[in-house]
């Protein structure tokens, strides 16, 4: 290349670099991360500020708790002054959910370690990732991916809950240090992050995450004897690994539940299933068909698609030709949207409508357009806009630390993962080891997430506790809660 051309090349390069700077400035991620880091680094001083601000949050919580507040005062005795807010949440659980289910987080918070718990032996460093004053927890997020909007608020929710716990005095005098790692959604990124967190940062446990490719980490976890609590359960492998404890409903159970809804509430005679031919899609379809069989209706018609399809016209045609009266979606949100749009183009709306399995984010009906009015959407947690005490607490905590955050159901799952970790850490007590942590976690056979769903950590693959509720999109294409919580028929 001649000199002139090269100089021009560099000029364009300079322009490019400026463009890149602008683009990265546009992206919220670096700025937000910096704020969080500043907060993390300031540690105690922000802690004070946050507890001052947190006063309003707990105030809201206390109001929301209502009847639970009294129980909070009773439960607060052994918790001591430092754990004030935490016992508030314990009280909420004790108050809001009665019966044996109320065990778990609440009792643990109040019970296992008192206000001035002594650190265990070895100067407090009782196990990998535990020191006298910190417990390291790692997490992976696909923030560099195109879906970063969703993973960023998920990371924020986790940080908010851990920060909240720290501001209340931490766990037996230790603060949780959450180390997030960006994988950009690639397999290399996930494996590299896991290696960094496990071998370099030496985390005590892996924590809530929103990441792809968690179906290939099991050999590493087993080799390192490293648990992973609160992953988002996108893959079946996460539910069968002895080291992983996803806090999301298994995708297969979603299939059973939406089929149950279609049979019991919509009285479907013949359903068709639109499925993603990957991740949870096939398993979801299988269980949906089993549930349909148990309820005595036909769900044999299926139409599958890949993650990126240029058109779903044929999938719509297949189900329309099969003459189905209900379409069940074991599909991802984007393809659910495409399917409904294609159906609209063909002027076809099944008699009982569309039943979405993985759609509990507000943009799905809005993006799908007018044919999505009246569609049903499944959620395993209480809807993030409802007013149950648990949801109010979750919104108060996340929005206190991140006022501009928004909510979706993977974010709820991660938040619950953080709750479960804190509860298990409290139960394991001051002499913290991974073995104790795991047995504490597995003792939660009926863990109340505070958002309706209960989880059995002793048998995470079991669908015994699986339940959920249905939303319906109104005419302005916003979700409204339609049903109460129900269980699968099969």
């Amino acid at each position: 290349m001649d000199l002139h051309g090269r100089r021009k090349g560099f000029a364009t390069a300079a322009v490019l670099a400026v463009l890149a700077l602008i683009a990265s400035a546009c992206g919220a991620s670096p700025r937000v991360t910096r704020e969080v880091e500043a907060r993390d680094q300031n540690g105690l001083s922000t802690g004070v500020a946050a507890s001052a601000a947190g006063g309003t949050a707990s105030g809201q919580l206390a109001q929301a708790d209502g009847a639970g507040a009294a129980a909070g005062a009773a439960g607060g005795t052994s918790g001591g002054a430092a754990a004030g807010g935490a016992t508030g949440s314990a009280a909420r659980k004790a108050g809001a959910v009665s019966g044996p289910a109320a065990g778990t987080a609440g009792q643990v918070a109040a019970g296992a370690c008192g206000a001035a718990a002594p650190a265990g032996g070895n100067g407090g460093a009782t196990d990998t990732g535990v020191s006298a004053d910190t417990i390291k927890v790692g997490g992976t997020f696909f923030n560099g991916n195109y879906l970063d909007k969703y993973s960023q608020v998920t990371e924020q929710a986790v940080k908010a809950y851990f920060q909240y716990t720290n501001d209340q005095g931490g766990i037996c005098g230790r603060k949780i240090q959450f180390i997030a790692c960006d994988t950009a959604g690639t397999a290399d990124g996930t494996k590299g992050c896991l290696s960094k967190l496990a071998d370099q940062d030496k985390v005590f446990t892996m924590g809530p995450s929103l990441d792809f490719n968690l179906n290939i980490v099991q050999p590493t976890l087993a080799a390192d004897k490293l648990p992973w609590v609160g992953d988002s359960g996108l893959y079946g492998e996460e539910f069968s690994s002895p080291w992983m404890f996803p806090t999301q409903l298994n995708g297969t159970d979603v299939g059973a539940l939406i089929a149950t809804f279609a049979g019991q509430t919509l009285h479907t005679k013949k359903a068709g299933i639109s499925l993603l031919n990957d991740v949870a899609g096939p398993g979801c379809t299988k269980r949906a068909q089993e549930a349909a069989k148990a309820l005595g209706y036909d769900a044999s018609a299926t139409a599958s698609n890949g993650q990126v399809e240029t058109s779903l016209d044929n999938q719509v045609a297949t189900l329309q030709n099969a003459g189905v009266d209900t379409v069940l979606f074991c599909n991802d949100p984007v393809n659910t949207i495409k399917f409904i749009q294609s159906a609209q183009r063909r002027g076809w709306k099944p008699a009982n409508g569309f039943v979405g399995g993985f759609v509990a984010a507000d943009d799905v009906p809005a993006a799908a357009g007018s044919y999505a009015a009246g569609m049903y959407g499944f959620t395993s947690f209480d809807f993030y806009k409802s007013n149950t005490p648990g949801i109010q607490q979750y919104r108060a905590i996340t929005e206190n630390y991140y006022p501009n955050t928004f909510h979706h159901f993977y974010e709820q799952a991660a938040y619950i993962g953080a709750e479960a970790i804190v509860a298990a850490l409290r139960k394991a007590g001051p002499k913290l080891t991974r073995a104790d942590f795991l047995s504490a976690l597995k003792s939660f056979t009926d863990f109340d997430t505070g958002m309706g769903l209960h989880i059995n950590f002793a048998n995470i693959g079991s669908s015994q506790l699986s339940s959920g509720l249905m939303l319906k999109a109104d005419n302005s294409l916003k979700w409204q809660v339609l049903t109460g919580r129900f269980k699968s028929a099969a």
Partner: protein, 370 residues
Amino acid sequence: MLRSFWEDSAKRNRAIVLVLVAAAALVWPLLTSKTIHFYGALSAIYALVALSLVILAGWTGQISLGHAAFLGFGTYIGQKLLTAGVPVPIAVLAVAAFGAVISLALGIPSLRLRGVYLTIVTLAFGAACQRYFFQLESVRGFRSHTVPRPSVFGISTASDKGLYYVVLVVFAIAIFMAWNLRRSDTGRTLFAIRDSEEAAQALAVHIAPYKIGAFALSAALATTAGLFYGMLYGATPGPDQFGILQSFFLLALPVVGGLESLWGAVVGGAFLATAQPLVNVFHIRLFLASSVALILVALSGYDGVTGMIAALYRSVRDALVGRERVRYGSFVPEAEAETNGKAHVHVKVLGEAVPGSVLRLRVHGAEVEQ
């Protein structure tokens, strides 16, 4: 012989660099932590992929947009073989042969025609693999399978460090073969074809077998890399990890590293493997950073990072030792053509020839005939 070798400064310098790099490649894992070992092993695997693309794109001018699919076949087929207890060396040969056979099915219809056909056939192949072949239960299916990591000639691959050494040996063998091939008649014929098919044809060279052969070699290397990729993970990633977009990224490897020097493969492999941890340090987004880096390297006008280093070396040397009287102008690998009698030098002029300019050649130990 040895003395003359030592007196030839270019050869001597190259030998010193080679020894230094080889020593560094062997020693660094002993001084670093497990996390770095993972990235080392990943770099070596991607270097193998980069080498396969250097051979295909750099030597024959053909482009594959489905190379990730070969990587995928290597991972999935390799998993089956290793699970069945096949020793690693035999598994390597088997998956390499498998890749080569597939490449023939793609290459024979498309490479006997001139033009973009291979590019598009590999693209359609990549899509078919991602959506169809890799979804088959007999290939991968919907569940991740465990990949065993058996020892190779006494080297345990259970740790990433051990696996790194195994891949390093395979890479060393591959790059030695490539280096030898490049100096051979076959190598020179490949360059001739790349630079002008018409001219090569005029010299009665049958083009298609060379191109098909180079593609087969390239595919075999990529599938071998896939086998080790699966071993590094200990599990089989989903089909989307070997999809079309991944193939696009892989193409960047030789461009970033440099096409002329075989070291370019090493640099390209390390670039792809370590991009993620690097961007994490600076909190920037992977796709943004890598696309900007890619564009800047391409716009710089140098032949990748190795080209930049070479240019830097030359300018430093010029400043210290004084300017060399004659300069290169050729692509022929700097390795020399050994001939008895007349040397045939194949030259391609990059860029537009300025009218009145003179082409200068550097020929060692021979007299230039005008």
